[in-house]
Homo-oligomer: 468 residues x 2
């Protein structure tokens, strides 16, 4: 076979060499051209097709570099010995992707993950972004520090020291693209042999991340002060994941005594650590924020984690953790080589946002806003107070209603759903439902509902409480 | 003890209630106030200090919520029973953080990780960012799709289909904050039982990530076509990590025959997968880019990975992977709940950058720019061609010099360093140095050096080759 009659389209967008390449590749794939078949010489083919020889050469080079043909010195080009190649299956689009079911849209949603975005300082954010983008430009797009930009870490450090009583240096801070990512990294730093204790109920994302990473995760019983340290000791775990400032979802503040007990537990052996997730400590409505557990840790036993997702905006994918010295060394050994997961521009925007005092102002504004919603919600609920008791109401952006109206959580949620209100059952937050008598409890988040909506929603909820 | 003489500073920035709180907390910590001690009543203390009663109440409430004191109905406030609390150690700043040694600054650096940033279309980027920030604002800062914004995934999908022959739907794409993160996630999707095969030499970051995640990682021998499939089969691994378009660092293009062999291997059992890292396929200087391995995979065996770090800018922390159907299901089961690691604004900027044709134009511009540097480098090297042979020069942004001047890699690198030139030894990229005879090989990256610098640097290198 020495002639290839290719119907070249000179008016096509596809270059001529590519048309030749595709034609020959197709013939090889379909088995029309067989292993060992000789191709026409570049000169013969170019003459035959009335095109330049370099065009044919380019097509042959492409076929050769992809392994379809081979050149043999002084003999020409031959189809490669490609076993099974002509059996190339039809590539059909893969099966329809996993369907994501569209969730029911409620009229009122007491979601616990809401953040009020109407109050976001858009114009300031835009102004800072604009300024940053006018800076030294090549530098902006060059790879940054793997731990996060030093200036940002310094700003975070100052904030943590002043607002949270955290005792750290910028060198101990790792900035990452969200808590999920940092928990994954922290898991790897702690090592696959770690046995992780979580409260029950707890922040389920953390539990799932550790579980997905194949860690042994144990749930530890709680009392009204938080994680039971005796049970923790009995569990054989060496890492305790806790939220001392405001337990999620119970809203418990861990008292100083329990904190000290927990620290003592950690000090007993070298491999023990406490992960302090300080996810929404910024919002407290009575007195000042509860200082961090990390701030009373003298032995480098606490990993402190915080996030801008609650305090600035969820779409700002930026969290940070403060590593104690031994874990920082392990981080350096294992992960210093990793690139930062946060874009440099975003880091510089947040740094400036903090340094120019906008962050503090924003937090104060949000605290006042949430406090107002909190007060309105509590006030509206008063009317129905015989049907439940309230807890967890001094901080954060949600509270708990312990039902006394004889309804189960499911019944209550179902009845609320019929009236287009989304409320959340506490049992959803348990890893294992406790065997002891369990009081049906409903969670109401109010960050993303304005006062008017809260009033209306509670009015409707009232008919659910009283089973009208 | 019924009186507390607190020296209140009315002109201080610290609120009065906080001064009282800190004074009492300090006394408890230091052991001056002991467990069971009764505090003055709020009325008595407010009278004594001549301040309002509500101020004292606020201080007591704070102390109570942190667990330092307890209120007993009709009896008053008492210091809590806090074991060991007065032993609270001095919190000293933790040991100086891990020192990062400042690397030597060379005059000329043939780094393999360079990206030319002078050619980045800053003004277009700024324009798009500005437009995006003027859009529906709350939506911008609300949590987005965990896989990445659908519009961006669609744009990536179109690009991959056209430019790389990848056969996929937007539903199969996961956008993440860099390859490192996606590899970590992919590792967890594949499961901790996976045994991962990498080429030797290989992209060491990938090896280290898998190794840090405690996977069993094996290195597989290579020949001139890439990973040896027989050795792969013998290794007992079920996941193969390869770079078929342009092996890093050897620059090998995997021929179609080897690709088919690799796919056949993967099809043999259900748990086998191939990870195709297509890290710099955009840059090819002869003919058109080599199509992806994923594009000839009919059985859903290939995970395709790509990144914008090389093609746009390193500080844009954005990569993507295309999951075959079975792994997509596993992703949905394990990780659909994770939040995206890339900020929504960045995603929208890149989406628009792609959709308005800027990405294609940018790639063409960079390809031309790098080709020029590539040509200049090859041309300059010609003069010294007796001292080495060249390989891997048809694509990517680096090439290999196999030394024939009798020097070892270390000797060559050391001699170059004395002349302020940073070159890289191939042995750095081996996980285990092969036992067979090893030819000293130097890697030269040219993405981040302009033509003038390349000329000067090669001139100096000449004296190293010839040992002058």
């Amino acid at each position: 076979m020495n002639e290839l009659t290719i119907d070249l389209k000179t008016d096509s967008k596809v270059p001529l060499y590519e048309q030749i390449y595709e034609y020959i590749r197709g013939d090889i794939r379909k088995g029309y051209l067989k292993s060992g078949d000789r191709l026409p010489s570049t000169r013969a083919l170019s003459k035959h097709l009335e095109i330049s020889r370099s065009t044919v050469e380019l097509a042959y080079e492409q076929l050769e570099s992809e392994g379809y043909i081979e050149s043999m010195p002084y003999r020409g080009f031959f189809v490669s010995q490609i076993e099974d190649l002509y059996e190339l299956k039809d590539i059909r689009p893969q099966k329809a992707a996993v369907q994501q079911k569209k969730p029911h849209q409620y009229l009122y949603d007491f979601t616990l993950n809401g953040v009020d975005l109407k109050s976001f300082p858009y114009s300031i954010w835009r102004k800072i972004s604009k300024e940053i983008l006018l800076n030294d430009q090549a530098e902006l797009f060059r790879l940054g520090d793997s731990q996060g930009e030093y200036g940002l870490r310094k700003a975070i450090c100052n904030y943590l020291h002043q607002a949270r009583g955290v005792n750290c240096e910028p060198e101990q801070i790792i900035v990452g693209a969200g808590n999920d990512y940092l928990l994954m990294m922290l898991g790897s730093i702690l090592g696959s042999e770690s046995r992780i204790a979580v409260e029950n109920p707890t922040y389920k994302r953390a539990y799932r991340i550790f579980d997905n990473m194949s860690f042994r995760v144990r749930t530890i019983e709680m009392d009204q002060s938080g994680m039971n340290v005796e049970k923790l000791r009995d569990s054989g775990c060496n890492v305790a994941f806790v939220m001392p400032s405001h337990q999620y979802p119970l809203g418990i503040v861990m008292p100083i005594k329990r904190r000290m007990e927990l620290l003592h537990w950690a000090e007993e052996t070298e491999d023990r650590y406490i992960i302090e997730d300080d996810y929404d400590s910024e919002f407290r409505y009575k007195g000042k924020p509860i200082p961090s557990l990390q701030g009373v840790d003298a032995d480098g036993k606490v990993v402190y984690m915080g996030t801008f997702s609650k305090s600035i905006a969820p779409a700002i994918r930026m969290s940070y953790m403060v590593l104690p010295f031994p874990l920082l060394q392990e981080y350096a050994r294992k992960f210093r080589f990793l690139h930062s997961t946060v874009s440099k521009i975003d880091q510089l925007v947040v740094e400036q946002f903090m340094e120019e005092g906008y962050y503090e102002r924003h937090l104060n504004k949000m605290r006042a806003l949430y406090k107002n919603r909190h007060d309105v919600l509590l006030n509206c609920l008063k009317q129905w107070k015989d049907y439940f008791s309230i807890s967890g109401e001094n901080a954060g952006v949600h509270l708990l209603l312990h039902l006394k109206n004889g309804m189960s959580e499911e019944e209550f949620m179902e009845a609320a759903k019929k009236k287009e209100i989304h409320v959340y059952g506490l049992s959803e937050y348990y890893i294992t439902i406790p065997t002891k008598k369990y009081q049906p409890t409903i969670l109401l988040g109010y960050a993303n509902m304005d006062e008017g909506k809260i009033k209306k929603a509670v009015e409707v909820l009232g008919t659910v409480f009283s089973n009208e």
